[in-house]
């Protein structure tokens, strides 16, 4: 999966789950302030990403630091590379 494919899959998954405007999906968009997600949504966001990328990330410390879509792109990209290396 290329980096762009990863970004596209993250965007489409989140747009569908949280009924977001595709035009608002920019790397600097804050998931709370700009996209309007809250604590319940972030629980579901993890489940949606786990379903889309077939990995387990719930216990990852790094998730707690996510603030922007760009953070998610970097996190998922890194996780995909990790899995590939294994």
């Amino acid at each position: 999966m290329t980096e762009q494919q990863i970004i596209d899959l993250i965007n489409s998954s989140l747009v569908e789950e949280f009924e977001l405007d595709p035009a608002s999906m920019s790397p600097d968009a804050n998931i709370y302030e700009d996209l309007g997600l809250d604590s319940l949504d972030t629980v579901d966001m993890v489940i949606v990403l786990e379903g889309a990328f077939k990995f387990k990330i719930r216990e990852e410390e790094e998730i707690r630091e996510i603030r922007t879509l760009g953070d998610i792109y970097r996190f998922v990209n890194g996780k995909s590379h990790q899995i590939k290396r294994k």
Binding site: F18, G36, D44, I47
Partner: protein, 411 residues
Amino acid sequence: MQLKRVVITGCGSVSPYGRGVDTLMEGLLAGRSAVQNFPDLAAIGGLRTRVAAKVSGINPKEIPRKDRRSMSAMSIFATMASQDALAQSGVTTEQLTSGRLGISLGSTVGSTKTTEELFRDFFTDSSLERMKSTIFFQIMNHSCASNVAQALGISGRLLAPSAACSTGCQAIGYGYELIAMGKQDMMLCGGADEFHPLTAATFDNINAASVGFNDSPSCTPRPFDRARDGVVCAEGAGVVLIESLDSAIERGVPILAEIGGFATLSDPRSIANPNVEAMERCMRLALEDADLGADEIDYINAHATATEQGDIAESEAISRIFGELVPVSSLKGHMGHTMAASGSLELIASLEMMSRGRLVPTLNLEEVDPACSTLNYLRLVQATEIDTFVKNSFAFGGVNSSIVVRRFTHD
């Protein structure tokens, strides 16, 4: 203790005819059946009925996502019906959030569809890792009441009566009692339910669901009719805004009717079978609460679901109290049995009959079952001015409820 008078100032309906009280009344007065054949029910092993009456023509996305994410269909129906009742009653945001307005709203169970989806996934590998955060909020016993309160900002008391088919009637009755006692000024009250094949199976399993009209769905159910063969399950929500007379006068809003009396009781003889004496006692207690004699009741909106035992027992109980002259009809023939919503939806329809001076008959009642008592069964729309009516709801679990409603006068 001086009890307060309680009046109805708003109604909201989401029925198998669609959204709105006018939509409901158009369907009922036109004698149009809302029952349809659903071929996908054939996929359920052992289920013989293929008919139901489902809600269509609403747009759930009118409700913001953050409110809607914890809602199954029944909460969506209830929220829309509540919004319409509040709008008709002219309730302001300040009143909604004052703590003096509460909610009494129930369903038969939490969402069966959501429960099914949860366990279908869980049973694949016994893992709950895929369980979304809002699943639980859709399957709680008080999901409807909580979701409506959250969506609308209600901060008064919250009750979620759950007594199967008596739910809607009980919810209004308990709200009425809270206001009469002065505990709340206003209450949003009613019932809601969503169709699921398991609901139909509950009735089919005990041979109480309609199975003989799968190819002619508009001919069933047939309350009181000789050829009736059982319940047709339906869905929807009926919600009324009730308040103390003082509150309505102070707000200067139109009063639609007054709740005269209410009764509910447990019938411990059987968890499944209706009983004439218990039904009779319930209606008599409601009349007593309303301080009205049987001869002062102008119309009876029966529970009558088109089961063999239920219709016979209710007709006998009505006959014992009211005799043969009072007009009687059941709305199940038009839109099936909306379960927890039936008591409140049918009360709203009866209220409209009172304001329009037109009584809706029992659809599909062609030949009264000789086993049913002789009553004034309505077969056609009848232009009649009524000032009072009784709404009955009798439920599995041995729960009976009756409400007496009367035209409001200042005396």
